[in-house]
């Protein structure tokens, strides 16, 4: 995070926005190709599905490497400030937060868990497919184990439908519009930032050459 201009601060850098939208596109394609055939829409979905799945896996690996290398994992960690925010929310009074609100962290961790569950089980299921890289091996695991894998994969997909609906709804809410704009353009206005975020918890300025989001 660094100042962009006097009235704007950078919230999401280009690579992070690219990751978000590639992940979003791959999840939409995965849900459409995975669920529409089950709902009676017939098309050749298998290749499209596993191709989008590999895009999602690559995006997840890229994101993991990036946050570890930049040392920015801590911005998503639950903190004492989140507990205070929860108490304030229950009391009906708003409280300024760090870079991510409690709801944003919860949405991130929920979608991350669903993506990881779907990706891990999806990668296992690819063993049963012929691809340009290998031939199928349907006998790799016991039938009961495959059944468990299918259950986790399908349950993750159904939960993801609900998560995508809720994420889209909250992104379009008028009071959250600044976050949608930040995910599109990278910046939010300093006034929006000051109204929602505590500079002690999310420093938006740093010494020259120092990114306050990364480790010292």
């Amino acid at each position: 995070m660094s100042p962009m201009s006097d009235d704007r601060v950078i919230r999401h850098r280009g690579p992070d926005r690219l990751f978000h939208w590639i992940t979003a596109a791959s999840v939409i394609v995965l849900l459409a190709t995975g669920l529409l055939p089950q709902l009676g829409v017939r098309f050749d979905w298998v290749t499209l599905h596993w191709s989008a799945g590999l895009v999602l896996v690559a995006a997840i690996l890229y994101h993991l490497v990036r946050v570890i290398v930049r040392g920015s994992l801590a911005t998503m960690r639950p903190t004492q400030a989140d507990a205070a925010q929860l108490r304030a929310l229950l009391g009906g009074r708003p409280l300024r937060t760090g870079k991510y609100t409690l709801a944003q962290k919860a949405m991130h961790h929920g979608i991350a868990l669903l993506c990881l569950a779907a990706a891990a089980t999806g990668l296992a299921m690819m063993v049963k497919l012929d691809t340009p890289l290998w031939t199928r091996n349907p006998y790799w695991l016991e039938a009961d184990t495959w059944g468990g894998i299918y259950v986790v994969h399908g349950l993750a997909a159904l939960c993801m439908v609900a998560a995508v609906m809720l994420h889209g709804y909250f992104a379009l809410r008028p009071e959250k519009r600044c976050y949608l704009r930040a995910m599109l353009s990278g910046w939010m206005s300093r006034s929006d930032c000051a109204a929602r975020h505590d500079p002690a918890l999310w420093p938006t300025t740093a010494p020259p050459g120092r990114d306050p989001e990364t480790r010292p």
Partner: protein
């Protein structure tokens, strides 16, 4: 409402095939209910200072 799908393998044994996709409408409906509940809550909530 069935939660899981079962089929038969080549030996006629029952095997688990995954979750029932009839649950799709329950998950989508639950999300829609939450959205409507939040809309009503936001509409009725007094404006914050």
């Amino acid at each position: 409402m069935e939660l899981l799908r079962y089929g038969r393998n080549a030996w006629g044994q029952e095997v688990l095939e995954g979750v029932s996709f009839g649950l799709f409408w329950w998950f989508a409906g639950a999300a829609l209910a939450l959205i409507v509940a939040h809309l009503v809550y936001s509409w009725r909530r007094p404006p914050q200072a």
